[in-house]
Amino acid sequence: MSTDLPSRSDYSHMPADSSDGVTFDEATVERLLQLGISRRRFMSYCAGLASLLALPQSMVPRLAQAATSTTLPAVVYMSFQECTGCLESMVNSFAFSGGTTIDNLILNMISLDYQETLMAAAGDQAEERLLSVTAQSGYVLVVDGSIPARWDSGYFISGERSGVARFRDAAKNAALLVAVGTCASFGGLPKADPNPTDALSIGELMADLGISKPLINVSGCPPIPEVITGVILYYLSQGMPTLDSLRRPTVFYGDTVHEDCYRKESFEEGPLARAFDDPNSRKGKCLYMLGCKGPVTHNACSRVRWNQGISFPMMSGHGCIGCAEPDFWDRLNRNNEKGFYIPIAAGSGHSRGLPCDTCHDDNGGDDD
């Protein structure tokens, strides 16, 4: 298996949305034929993905090439303090009924050289595999879960090595690090108060260890499957995506969940839902007063949605819990209270255009 990342072409000279069409090259069509995937179905998938990634449609052939290339980038996927929900989310991406699935193709886009849950090897055999793969250079290191800060704390020991040692050794020859999930991106649930294991995010641990390498955070608990695979496909076809201040790809994390929420209309004009299952809640009114963290949470849930585009939490009458943001579990809300059902501190209301009666509804709290 190759450890070289595929070469990145410079398409900047191409017009934004003009091309000689979106015709696939012969190698791509041949590969789709081998995999038993309908070319037209795959073209539609790539058109939707390009739209999602805010790429011009002229990039569709390049996306298709990246997804079907036989030159596979080596990926080492390591899990630390996590629940395996992120991996579960990723392997379920783009599933659709019948025949060969595109999620298989996504897994075929990379050479997954190490992943404890998916690989057949275990014990010493798995450890040997990890050491031999990470002895080479240029692989992508995907990390899932946070890591206890102190190597000798006794928390997270695997293969007789601490989480810190395992990560440090694996990161040494990596070309790119991808922190998948909020635990890896920001510490997540293991880091929640009182943080018994002194959990650190991957970025924090890299700073502690003096590791200076490109890092992409793909936050969420779990991240949306299409976002995980979309980031991988973006990297393979376009190179490094533009990142926000928290190192998340802006193409997916540039807007808040609130921006594209169908309940947003009543946020500014009212009425707001005041109780779960009250008439306003059932009529699709905004769940802000029920603790929805959508206005302060950057993610693509309301745009991409979950379960192959079926819905997102607000469509089921439950507000956003803010899982893609740092310290979401311990977030201080109105009256300095923690909790998923406590509205966001009213002080942030005016700046987000909340009606005054809602904004001042906290017994004179710290308003702006």
Binding site: S18, T23, R40, R41, Y45, S51, E268, Q308
Partner: protein, 142 residues
């Protein structure tokens, strides 16, 4: 209490056509430019409607009405559905990609002779020819 809707706003109509929104006019001008460009250079163009800012339901419908429908329509059915409809302007196609649940994944305006998704590929045709010849070589079931 002042609501946002109480604040009077006078929109500058700019160079819009009749009652059409400036965004619809802008898209139609873009379509006209790229159609002219295609006639000169044969360079196909795709306008991604999802990339358009502030394309609300009314604006979207106004654009669809302005382009109207032409003589040709086709549908690709391959787990997902792609609906291809020529507009009243020949060579300007409205293409709707739907997911398995029928939800719209993306909508495109393609300016070309025939959208690529409708064309057969030589490799697929060769594979089809091989299957057809195999079928012909076998005794046909009565």
């Amino acid at each position: 209490m002042t609501r946002l809707s109480d604040i009077p706003v006078q929109a500058d109509p700019g160079e819009s056509r009749g009652n059409a929104s400036p965004l619809v006019t802008a898209v139609l001008n873009n379509v006209a430019d790229t159609l002219a460009q295609f006639l000169e250079s044969r360079l196909a163009t795709v306008i991604d409607l999802r990339a358009m800012p502030q394309m609300d339901a009314a604006t979207y419908q106004s654009l669809k009405n302005a382009l109207s429908v032409g003589e040709v329509s086709a549908k690709v059915e391959a787990d997902v559905t792609v609906e291809i409809r020529e507009t009243q302007y020949a060579g300007v196609w409205w293409v709707t990609h739907r997911n398995e649940q029928g939800g719209i994944v993306t909508e495109l305006i393609e300016i070309t002779e025939i959208p690529d998704i409708l064309k057969a590929h030589a490799i697929d045709m060769r594979a089809g020819l091989q299957r057809l010849r195999q079928a012909l070589a076998e005794p046909s079931p009565v």
